[in-house]
């Protein structure tokens, strides 16, 4: 498989044409490595790669690169996330080299939530480059073996480059264009924002198929099981760019209180079933926020186990 860009497990699974399944894990707000290792163990063998979030929601957590390195030690493949909010291009390039030397092979490039949301709203933000430019930076490092300033790199990092796409943020008309831009910039795979509005997502994928985008890049559909009606309401109202249809909230409200979580998982499983046959969708990205221990069960019920092992 010499034509692999990174040789990551995720890349191999996708390239071999399997329906990919990725997970997500937020590092702790502290140095509790044991807890982190515990979370990783739930995911081992259950997903193809695990996203390691980078100071998510602009709240300080254990660094994404350190958590990714620990994940490598645990035998789970990380998808290292990097946001543009906290680093300039110097810090970014040195961290990219750093994670590569620690065995990281996937990297997701993100703008990052504005620091206004987080626990250090007084911080000076960086946004030296944006997520699009970060994608092209990683691609340049990998494919041209050059830093951003064109200096040669002695052993370039070989990373499978990921990007995020939110089909539900406004203006909708531009979303597929922005996806096209990210692919043009060098994204090898794209994970979407949590999908609840299936109608709108079908339309998004249809457009992406029409534009030939799904042939150039692997699209993983993002899902997050709803745990409660409160969570659904919160996501619908408070989280920017999230589209939770009234019909889903109604459905969750329609079951007994102690069965809401199960109903949330059922909806998620129905979605996965549809994604499996949806043209242009190459896999699912499951963001089970602080529910890592339930991922094996979801994977099992979704018929996604065992995961393919590719040498």
């Amino acid at each position: 498989m010499d034509d692999l860009k990174s040789g990551s497990n995720l890349e191999k699974v996708l390239k071999a044409g399997h329906f990919a399944f990725t997970g997500e894990c937020g590092p702790p707000k502290g140095a509790n490595v044991e807890h982190l290792r515990e979370k990783f163990r739930h995911l081992k063998g259950v997903v193809d790669a695990v996203n390691v979030t980078d100071n998510q929601t602009a709240v300080v957590h254990l660094s994404s690169w350190a958590a990714s390195a620990i994940m490598v030690q645990e035998g789970v493949e990380p998808n290292f996330q990097m946001v543009c909010r906290d680093r300039n291009r110097l810090a970014m390039q040195s961290d990219i080299l750093g994670v590569y030397t620690m065995g990281v092979r996937n990297m997701l490039c993100l703008s990052g939530d504005h620091q206004k949301f987080g626990n250090h709203p007084q911080a000076k933000n960086v946004y030296d480059i944006d997520s699009m430019q970060l994608i092209s930076l990683v691609k340049k490092m990998r494919d041209e073996g050059k830093f951003f300033n064109d200096d040669p790199i002695d052993v370039p990092p070989r990373l499978f480059i990921g990007a995020a796409s939110n089909p539900f943020a406004e203006p909708y008309e531009f979303r597929v264009y922005r996806l096209a831009k990210k692919i043009a910039a060098g994204a090898d795979f794209v994970q979407t924002q949590c999908i609840y509005n299936m109608e709108r997502f079908r339309e998004f994928i249809r457009q992406a198929n029409d534009m030939g985008l799904t042939e150039k890049c692997y699209i993983l559909a993002g899902v997050t099981p709803m745990k409660s009606v409160g969570m659904a309401n919160y996501m619908a109202k408070q989280v920017p760019g999230m589209d939770v249809p009234e019909s889903l909230i109604k459905r969750l409200k329609g079951v007994e209180k102690n069965k809401v979580a199960e109903e949330g998982i059922r909806f998620c499983l129905e979605q996965i079933e549809e994604f499996k046959t949806m043209k242009g969708v190459a896999g699912v990205h499951l963001m089970a926020i602080e529910w890592e221990h339930r991922v094996p069960e979801i994977a099992e019920r979704a018929g996604l186990l065992p995961r393919p092992v590719i040498e």
Binding site: I129, S131, S165, N166
Partner: protein, 224 residues
């Protein structure tokens, strides 16, 4: 123009708490236009300071002056006869004013009465908004005259980010998402394809990141 807000009266009182006489200097430039540091505001500040100190039983003598601009040495020179007659001087100009004063009169103490905030303009009576961040290399011709550097909360050049919602920025419902406006304007004009190119990273050397900046106009520089 440069937009500023006046500091709180408590903050200003604290700056001059040891003084018994001060001079308040206004500016007829930008801070007059945004109703912060012109004649009227100088008078109000002077009166407020006097009243507050009188209440404390420690009267403060406050004199007033108004300069054409505080960002030009020739106008700064106009108070040279009296500037040292006071224990301190409060400038109501943007941050440039107290610095020009301070450089011109090294023996005097100068305090800023305003917080200099941004380059912007009046969008409605009494409301000013940021429009430019003075990045030093203007690129707004690519975006139909709308600036993503100053007006996108993340200075994205390839936005809109995933947080754009009903035309508002993810940081607050009161803040417009400039990328929403850029995209809509392009759509209206049938030129959305303009935005398909990936705009390269910005060279911030011309912005503040390149260190303090200087503008030279050879034809205006007089010899001798």
């Amino acid at each position: 123009m440069i937009v500023a807000d006046r500091k709180s009266i408590h903050e200003i009182l604290d700056m001059v708490k040891d003084c018994s006489n001060i001079l308040v200097v206004g500016c007829k430039g930008c801070v007059t236009v945004c109703n912060v540091g012109g004649l009227k505001e100088v008078q109000i500040l002077a009166a407020t300071l006097k009243i507050a100190r009188k209440k404390e039983g420690r009267p403060l003598q406050v004199d007033e002056a108004l300069l054409e601009r505080q960002c030009d040495p020739e106008y700064i020179a106009m108070i040279q006869d009296r500037v040292n007659d006071y224990e301190a001087v409060i400038s109501m100009a943007c941050g440039v004013g107290p610095q020009f004063l301070s450089e011109a009169y090294p023996n005097q103490r100068f305090y800023p009465a305003v917080n200099t905030t941004f380059f912007g303009g009046a969008v409605a009576h009494g409301i000013w908004e940021e429009r430019c961040a003075g990045c030093g290399t203007c690129i707004i011709h690519h975006f139909d005259g709308l600036c993503p550097i100053a007006r996108c909360s993340k200075s994205l050049m390839n936005g809109p980010c995933g947080g754009s919602d009903h035309g508002k920025c993810e940081i607050a419902k009161t803040v417009d998402c400039i990328w929403d406006k850029i995209v809509r304007k392009k759509m209206e004009q049938g030129r959305l394809n303009d935005l398909l190119q990936v705009f390269p990273a910005k060279n911030w050397q011309t912005a503040r990141d390149g260190g303090p900046r200087r503008s030279r106009r050879e034809e205006l520089i007089q010899n001798g």
